[in-house]
Symmetry: C2
Subunit: 115 residues, 2 copies
DNA sequence: TGTCCATCCCTTGCGCTTCTAGGCATCTTC
DNA sequence: GAAGATGCCTAGAAGCGCAAGGGATGGACA
């Protein structure tokens, strides 16, 4: 059923996470909340997707993490973008742009089914 | 020049195939060529991705197929959109729109949206 | 005639990512 | 001290795209 739930296409999550972290160091739980909020609920990131993704990105050197206290007084792992990660963010953002342009061409070019 | 190789995110291929078939019945080989051509080489569909995808879509009742002769005189499997498939195309196209808008919000690509 | 290339179809197995479904620990509130 | 929110994590299953195989046909060309 077409709920607001939108399974993210493979690879997109990485891009979104990198972008979310680029602004300022954030911890995982807040990343999910921020993505959902900014996207107006369209993007929903279950924790089972989020944390593995964060670990992947950290393993590849795109993110680095430090434990700090949150506003609520709890210890949390704050991720920040490395230099390599910033470059990766640019690359993926460019790829994304190229992709949506290409898909746009395909979806829009043939006026055959234009409603 | 280096072709812009772009691994398609999971699920995107279905949408593109449905759209390609929507205009008129086409056979698999031509679908791949058309997608690559219309997208200006950005979208490339290897046969190992294409045919399984076609079979999936046929299995789910989104596509139907008939063997016909091509212009070049060879037998080929021409796929066409079923009623269910057309509905699916609309659904997926809408999902895609919603997604790129959401990602756009997060990336801040909208003019002045960044902050 | 025989060979090569382009066209056209297909399958298997791998790798990758996402999601479901759990568990664990801390802090606040009642 | 129980409950709920916060915050982190893992294991397993499922799905999809891709590389790398293979086969069959028709036309071009020597």
């Amino acid at each position: 059923m077409a709920a607001a739930k939108s399974d993210l296409p493979q690879g997109t999550l990485d891009l979104l996470i990198l972008k979310a972290v680029a602004v300022e160091p954030v911890h995982g739980y807040a990343i999910a909340q921020r993505l959902e909020q900014v996207s107006r609920g369209v993007v929903q990131v279950p924790e089972g997707s989020l944390y593995p993704a964060l670990h992947r990105l950290e393993n590849r050197g795109f993110l680095a993490a430090d434990w700090k206290k949150t506003e609520t007084g709890r210890e949390a792992k704050f991720y920040r973008l490395t230099r390599k990660g910033r470059k990766q963010l640019e690359t993926e953002a460019a790829s994304w742009q190229r992709l949506i342009e290409a898909v746009g061409l395909i979806l829009g070019v043939a006026d055959g089914g234009a409603q």
